[in-house]
């Protein structure tokens, strides 16, 4: 077969796959507990220098060696074909990364005794990256059944095409430790996690589901130190311009040992008219976070941030948000998580508290499932709202 025919065939498969994913129904892997395996950095396994999303070839291999349940299979240092994109059906050139995530969920909720439930596609994204020497072009496109409108390309209330990230980057330095990027990117702040509704992410608007912003970032990944700072130009998938937040966000994390890392984060943004509060708003979030692996099966993650909202013509209101999570991998591939979180947002009547109990099972190559039981208590001026949520997810990555 002629080389051009192979290229055309490959392109056809990619486009067909995109159509399949978008018509049928996000990767949002970001597992900070990989410090268990001495991975204090993120860029070994992810295309994003601060982690999350599209996997590198090395990351795919580690997902097979370290992440999934192996059912007694012998250890191997040769990554299996099945760990590759589409289980290895399509062999990609070394300069191309492709991936995709489909996440299907059922959520049942009880609020002060009233029940509701729904089943929906949380995520259906295709992501890719092409590298030409030091230059990288990266992007994702997907379908959102509900929500994620801040990342939408189309204009409907529901059922939108979304692009969470799209950027061009260049590796800098002899060891390519630095990366300068421009485009739409995840916000560099705190612990990057798949649990996008966790208050440390949602209240700071730094989740990887839909809080990305357009801007320019500079990331550094060294042996013991890594970090990223982003100058935020605004979310250009949101209008009018008055709603767009401008400012900076960044973090630095230091690995004191292969089993202990801690860092600081800082974020300041200003919107002429905040799209939630409908008034001119300067938003601050500043805090610390850490990851600790005292014994192999156990990883502790912690984050605490000070929040401050300065609305025009009003006094600055302050609050805080924090979380502590214990991840126990009882056998390879099966994780038990316990999380406690607290939030006192600006304008909140009191401190909200939440407890998560989660089971995450990486049961097959490219597949995992998880169940979360989440209890939250939110005081209001009238009463306390108690919410219990059962969330079940099936996740596949291509």
């Amino acid at each position: 077969m002629k080389p051009w025919a192979i290229r055309r065939g490959l392109a056809g498969v990619i486009v067909a796959l995109f159509l399949l994913v978008t018509c049928w129904v996000k990767p949002a892997e970001a597992y900070a507990w990989m410090i268990r395996h001495d991975y204090t950095g993120c860029n070994q396994c992810h295309a994003d220098p601060s982690g999350g999303g599209l996997l590198t070839e090395y990351g795919r291999a580690q997902s097979d060696f370290l992440l999934r349940m192996r059912y007694g299979a012998a250890e191997s240092y040769e990554p299996p074909r099945s760990a590759e994109f589409l289980f290895g059906v399509v062999k990609l050139p070394e300069t191309v990364l492709l991936g995709g995530d489909i996440r299907y969920a059922r959520v049942a909720t009880r609020v002060n005794g009233n029940d509701a439930s729904r089943t929906f596609f949380m995520q259906a994204d295709l992501a890719g990256q092409v590298a030409i020497n030091r230059v990288k072009v990266n992007g994702s496109i997907g379908y959102s059944e509900q929500g994620a409108r801040q990342a939408a390309l189309t204009h409907d209330p529901e059922h939108n095409l979304v692009s969470r990230v799209h950027w061009v980057g260049v590796d800098i330095g002899q060891d390519r430790n630095w990366q300068l990027r421009a485009g739409r990117m995840n916000m560099p702040f705190g612990i990057r996690t798949v649990e996008h509704t966790m208050w440390v992410r949602s209240s700071t608007r730094t989740d990887i589901a839909w809080s990305q912003q357009h801007g320019v970032s500079l990331a550094y990944n060294g042996a013991d130190l890594h970090g990223e700072v982003m100058l935020i130009a605004g979310n250009f998938q949101l209008a009018p311009d008055a709603f767009r937040e401008r400012g900076y966000s960044g973090y630095v994390e230091y690995a004191a040992s292969p089993h202990l890392a801690f860092g600081v984060s800082s974020l300041v943004t200003r919107a002429e008219k905040d799209y939630v509060s409908q008034q001119s708003l300067v938003r601050h979030a500043h805090g610390v976070f850490g990851r600790y692996n005292p014994v192999k099966p156990l990883v502790l993650l912690a984050e605490a941030n000070l929040l401050a909202d300065a609305a025009e013509g009003a006094a600055t209101s302050t609050g805080f948000v924090g979380m502590l999570q214990a991840d126990a991998e009882v056998i390879q591939g099966l994780h038990l998580n316990a999380t406690g979180e607290a939030l006192k947002g600006s304008g909140d009547y009191g401190t909200k508290t939440g407890i998560w109990g989660s089971v995450v099972w990486f049961f097959l190559p490219h597949f995992d499932t998880r169940v979360d039981v989440i209890w939250q208590s939110a005081p209001t001026s009238f009463s306390t709202v108690e919410t219990t949520m059962l969330l079940a997810q099936l996740h596949a990555f291509l």
């Binding site: 009233n114 729904r118 204009h155 998938q237 304008g347």
Partner: protein
């Protein structure tokens, strides 16, 4: 077919056959009926986004409603809250026009002044400053465009192959 492939097939089958179901959201329709409005108010009068959802009641009007003890799916409490708000003249945006009066006028009770939703509602999407008129869901249009691109791409590849054969 090996065992792994069988497991993957099974998981995909379960995944593909899983039923879709969505919760009903009676609040906007309840307000519409009670106040005899021509259209149900948008979810964003109370919630952060149009899909509503728990812990997303961030708008001033939504917080006022919550003060009256309204929780998920509690239609009776919502009806009572509307009555109480009308009696008390709650004014979430402090513009001198009560919340219920604003709902009846068709203006946004969260926005002082005229407060029409057109002026203050966030718009989303690519080239979002100029959203196109919607005759069909734009995701369908986008998928159609991708299909056209694919067919054009296929035709071009076929043409090149023919040219190559001739030469």
């Amino acid at each position: 077919m090996n065992r792994t492939a069988l497991r993957v097939s099974f998981a995909l089958a379960v995944f593909a056959l899983a039923p879709a179901a969505r919760a009903s959201d009676p609040f906007p329709d309840t307000i519409k009926m009670q106040l005899n409005l021509s259209e149900a108010p948008p979810c964003t009068y109370c919630h952060q986004t149009l899909i509503g959802g728990l812990m997303t009641v961030t708008k001033p009007f939504g917080r006022t409603v919550q003060k009256y003890g309204v929780h998920l799916q509690d239609v009776a409490a919502l009806r009572n809250a509307i009555m109480q708000m009308q009696v008390n003249g709650d004014d979430s945006d402090g513009d001198g026009v009560g919340d219920i009066a604003e709902l009846l006028q068709g203006t946004d009770p969260n926005v002082a002044g005229e407060g029409g939703i057109e002026a203050d509602e966030a718009r989303y999407g690519c080239f979002c400053s100029t959203p196109p008129a919607r005759s069909a869901p734009s995701v369908v249009g986008a998928a159609g465009l991708a299909g056209l691109a694919l067919s054009g791409f296929g035709r071009r590849a076929l043409r090149r192959r023919r040219v190559e054969r001739k030469t």
